[in-house]
Symmetry: C2
Subunit: 234 residues, 2 copies
């Protein structure tokens, strides 16, 4: 593994890199500063629940325009999927995804995305998945969910006394899982330390909300323009 | 293979199915009437370009509500991915998809979806892919594209003298591929016999437009409500 000083030392020690190494160093530094976005996937996950945030986070660039999208250089996120095992996951509707990582070999996750779908129902009693979510959430800088992904957050004891939302068809179920949750019934994105969103497509709004929180409105709006998504107010 | 009379004969011949078979027959008939939606995928396809229409078409139900989404019974579409070979496809951003079919074994396609992405550039000179698109389009009931997928339709000679659109960053390229195309620069969805849409997220609008055209506004709006997508006017 390459160990490289992240900031400061390069200048403070008077180390002057050869010009041909400058870009390489900039790339290393960029690489080391990227947020790792881990998206949980499982059988019967809803396609747009994970694909929406995957699209937004993986296409965000700090440098605007078309050219910057041709490389990862100004990408602030490194996005990957994680599943319990390495077995391909079959989504609702039958799309087959090969997870990039499994629970046991996933890199540290800065931003966790827990999507929803019919597959969440059986995961509500899956201690391995709930335990993994709890463990990753404890170290992540941000924890998010889309749709019925918030049911898994509730079962992982992450929504205690928090405002949260879910798909409109699961609002009562969310409440029943934890009486202390203040269920928001009319919001697409709810940020109360943990960020939950309403059904399916609102995961795209959630992702843009996170991008805006971290990198400002301009970066979020410019990325929305790139993917031709019309952001709406809450 | 089961060969079963599609319509009419059941009643016309006086054939009276046993009550326990009525549902089975209804299911068979439903199955046989479903539209096959074939979504082309390839390396460096843009995630939301194919995942948006996949979500919309695969979650459309003719019976409204939550319950109908738990089965395929009232689903008017059967959605699948098709790639040149059976090798997993890596999207822009690194999502890995196992294609359900390859060119050589895909079932007949009623509705073709050609998504876009950076991978379209090398496909502009890939005769096997262009030939496959041309061949499928000749038999399909509807041909659609998302984003720079329309470049592939233009190179397959399908947009001759038609109004069409693409991602805002590729409008000039589309025009340069075929002077006879009337490039629409301000529309999200353009239907001129062949249905093209603007960048990335506008593929979701395109899919809802197709659903509305085939099954009416109510079915489209109810499906949009299910996936919590806010449809916008053209």
């Amino acid at each position: 593994m390459l160990v490289f000083p992240l900031e400061g030392p390069i200048l403070l020690t008077g180390f002057t890199p050869h010009p041909r190494n400058v870009n390489m160093i900039r790339n290393w530094m960029t690489e080391m500063k990227k947020w790792n976005v881990g998206i949980l996937i499982f059988n019967d996950v809803e396609v747009l629940d994970f694909a929406g945030p995957f699209e937004v986070f993986s296409r965000t660039r700090l440098v605007p325009g078309l050219e910057s999208r041709r490389s990862e250089e100004s990408a602030p996120f490194r996005v990957f999927t994680v599943a319990k095992t390495s077995t391909p996951v079959t989504t609702t509707g039958g799309l087959q995804i090969i997870p990039e990582f499994m629970f046991s070999d996933a890199p540290p996750i800065d931003l966790l995305v827990v999507p929803g779908g019919l597959g969440t129902r059986s995961l509500l009693s899956d201690q391995e998945t709930l335990g993994w979510i709890r463990q990753v959430a404890a170290k992540a800088k941000k924890v998010t969910s889309v749709c019925t992904g918030s049911l898994l957050l509730a079962k992982s004891d992450l929504l205690e006394n928090r405002r949260a939302t879910t798909h409109w068809g699961a609002l009562d179920l969310l409440q029943s899982l934890n009486k202390s949750v203040q269920v928001e019934r009319d919001r697409r994105v709810v940020d109360d330390g943990i960020i939950t969103s309403a059904g399916v497509a609102s995961g795209i709004d959630m992702a843009f909300y996170v991008v805006e929180t971290l990198y400002g409105r301009e970066v979020a709006d410019e990325t929305a323009r790139y993917i031709e998504f019309r952001r709406t107010e809450q």
